[in-house]
Amino acid sequence: MIQTELTVLANNKIAEQTIEMQLGLASDKLVTEAEKFMPGQFLHVKVGEADTPMLRRPISIADMDSDGNITIIFKISGRGTDMLGKQSVGSQIDALLPCGTGYPVEELNLDTALLIGGGIGVPPLYYLGKTLASRGTRVISILGFQKEDQVFYKEKFMNLGETIIVTDDGSLGEKGFVTDYMSKHIAEFDCFFSCGPTPMLRAVTEKLSGRRGYISVEQRMGCGIGACYACVVPSKSETGFKKICKDGPVFAANEVNL
């Protein structure tokens, strides 16, 4: 892991309160490092000055291009993301990266993968889906949003494979929750991958219990490097906790208790 200044290369609003930002690494050496960044890993971003705001914000890697540029997609939901969203092209952002353990894409040899994402859980699934597709895996995506205004990356996911958009109010795509639309593909996939709010993850893992799958878990973080024990999740196997920022954020679906 390194701490570095990333340069904002692009800052676009792609949905309501949702920003897509492209970030460039400072040196070629880092770009070589960046080739090892895995889907599911995140940046731990410091915005503002010194102690204001105090803590870093974890934001997933949503995409990487061949020049080692990183795309993040985030929702403006408080002070830190608001400040981050205001960073203009050319400004510098302090980040720790890559943080955490991503999806084990290299170890998996899948025919068909089912991606199930909700809201700000969708971004990391894009980089995952892209990586899986490039390895020959068929990718099916079920993506949930509150309403039409909040939907992003619909076309991008459609380019990877079959994509079902679900909105709470049916304003775009299907109406309801992602879990309502999994049955159609229940027989097809080898492995599922889910990221989103905890209640959604709970519902997904329950419905798909017994199936091979990975989930990406969120929690309020301190250090982001595994030293402060802020970001734990109860482990299913051992009695005790796993650290989301180090052992996760990606866990096997049967590894942790949500």
Partner: protein, 311 residues
């Protein structure tokens, strides 16, 4: 080049800056980022007798120039620490200070004894001030009699110098300091966190699962400085000062207030290189304010007992 060397009981420090307990784990994660040998010392996460799982999440919240934490003493237990963590840290050429917590005097004594017997630590820090677990020691930190008793019992059992970490959640910090001094403490660590709370507006209830948490960071620095200054007037014990340090100027402020070394907590959490940056800049800052070495800075505070009576 100004020398940053400083000596405290049991501790010969290359420089006065060490990470504070709980903000640095057992050093492993940070050792991947920089060479730990550059630190003055390492203070490890609290050890209890049995392993502890700690509190439910959320465990941290952000506040103005500070943070709340309610980790709840999660640790693998003293045996695992002695077997796995201390041998790992012993490969570095820096003093290791082991933070000890417990629910009973017996637990403090047992944990301290096991750590002492490894021969791998240079000092013990008795955490009688963790506000985040009911049985985590804060009752010892609020009652001078209990604080003295736990100090005396541990001192009787171990050879390693014992630093007692004081809680700021008290009306009279000087009384606490004097109680543990009389009981034989070799030094003081101060301050631990102040008990605080944040209410989450959408859910209408405390944000932390533990409801309350310990407030740390720059927000509490003025309280820490005041306490170090007050205790320095009334106790001869060397003080490891902490509370909100994030710059080399902050370090000097603690030295002038009366500390002989400092610990950096929360700053590591938002910047893992915080200790390194502080250590790098400290010589310039000492020089800027007219100090040639650590001793001058430690002795340099214009402290007048007579003046204090005015406050």
């Amino acid at each position: 080049m100004i020398s940053l060397e400083t000596k405290l009981p049991g501790l010969h420090l290359k420089n006065p800056v060490m990470p504070a307990s709980g903000c640095f784990g057992f050093g492993r994660e940070f050792s991947e980022l920089f060479d730990l040998n550059q630190l003055g010392a390492v203070v490890i996460k609290a050890a209890t007798y049995e392993s502890r799982y700690g509190n439910q999440t959320p465990r941290v919240a952000e506040t103005a120039a500070g943070m709340l934490n309610a980790i709840g003493l999660q640790n693998p237990g003293v045996e695992a620490i002695c077997k796995e963590e201390l041998p790992y840290l012993s490969r570095f050429d820096i003093p290791v200070i082991a933070n000890v917590a417990g629910s009973t005097i017996e637990e403090y004594v047992a944990v301290a004894k096991m750590l002492d017997e490894t021969g791998l630590i240079q000092a013990l820090e008795l955490n009688i001030s963790c506000p985040n677990v009911k049985e985590g020691g804060i009752q010892f930190g609020m009652d001078p009699g209990l604080a003295a008793e736990v100090t005396a019992q541990v001192k009787k059992t171990v050879d390693t110098p014992v630093y007692v970490k004081l809680s700021p959640n008290t009306a009279d910090i000087v009384q606490m300091a004097k109680a543990v001094e009389t009981a034989g403490a070799d030094g003081l660590s101060m301050i631990n966190t102040l008990t605080g709370m944040q209410i989450d507006l959408p859910s209408r209830k405390p944000l932390l699962a533990n409801q309350t948490g310990g407030l740390s960071g720059p927000a509490i620095k003025p309280i820490a400085i005041r306490m170090v200054y007050e205790v320095r007037q009334h106790s001869g014990l060397p003080i490891i000062g902490m509370g909100g340090i994030s710059t080399a100027e902050d370090v000097l402020e603690f030295l002038l207030a009366g500390a002989s070394a400092v610990a950096v907590g929360t700053a590591n959490i938002h910047d893992p290189f915080a200790c390194m940056k502080i250590i790098e800049r400290l010589p310039q800052v000492l020089q800027k304010y007219g100090f040639q070495n650590m001793e001058e800075a430690i002795e340099g505070g214009n402290r007048h007992e007579a003046d204090l009576s005015r406050s």
